[in-house]
Symmetry: C2
Subunit: 195 residues, 2 copies
Amino acid sequence: MSDGLDSAGRELLFSEARSVRSFSDKPVPDEVLAELWSLARWPPTAWNSQPLRVTYVRSPEGKARLLPLVDERNRDKTRQAPVTCVLAADLRFHDHLPELFPGKPDLREFLERADREGHARFNAALQIGYFVLAARAVGLSAGPMAGFDAGAVAKEFLDPQPLRALLLVNLGYPRPDAAPPRLPRLPAGHVVSWL
Amino acid sequence: MSDGLDSAGRELLFSEARSVRSFSDKPVPDEVLAELWSLARWPPTAWNSQPLRVTYVRSPEGKARLLPLVDERNRDKTRQAPVTCVLAADLRFHDHLPELFPGKPDLREFLERADREGHARFNAALQIGYFVLAARAVGLSAGPMAGFDAGAVAKEFLDPQPLRALLLVNLGYPRPDAAPPRLPRLPAGHVVSWL
């Protein structure tokens, strides 16, 4: 019966972490990015379906293909980040369910004929939540960006699979002045009800 | 420049945590539930919009209202869990943006006329990812459940606000035999691409 995470861990992942807009020049080793996924893969999804797909864009060539598809206000930070992740939902997640969720052998066939987009987007978004905190857990700072052309990013980076680009996340080590003043959070009394 | 979370923290939140189906009788103090939200509120959302709303159902009366709306296979564990959270997306999240995201004063007016459901669902799902890991960070185990009547739960628990029920999550302290055998995760080579 655990008392949970120690205060250093709570600060690192939650209360003192910041979304970062500018990164130091310190490179991000591939092993750290691999370690990030080795953590982020574990938390739960419905039917163990794991629809999230991750593309780590690090090379100058990859960045050059990505930059024109990003809103202008996001270009400088994307160019400057050591890594930009394209996070996407795989609409053919059900192809893997016979292995991932063997308890329901009919599920793949049922989903082949169903609208899977809502499930894929919702569960991939849960996984993006896990991914952002896993990035912090391996010592990185994250800067998520919703401002980009999702259709064009899918076409440029994700074809020919049926994937939907959901979010871009810059990763790296922050500069000391990397984060703007913190924005407020809603009062708990507005968010949380007790029954 | 941090090396990140220590190995005990990584195991607690990611690699050794399990989704739990049956809970011990140990009650969950209200302070622990409040602490959970005091962590989960921090990680980022687009426009700092924070659309997630949380209802902690603890009382026998609340449980009695919830149980008929939960799929039959989920009833025993819902009845037995010390707390069941109704996690929902507030489609009127934009009412708070003048305070939460003052840099874009026109945003509330723009969103009043826009379709906000996709934004609300996606960002609330990110927050549910944060919420599940925050539950583990305060020493709780979580058992998410997608099998319930979302429309009926919204009507019973969330009226009159325009809220969409997204997920139920049981919370408590696990029994030793609380988790079934672990299901496999996709190989990293299938999920992660490198550019």
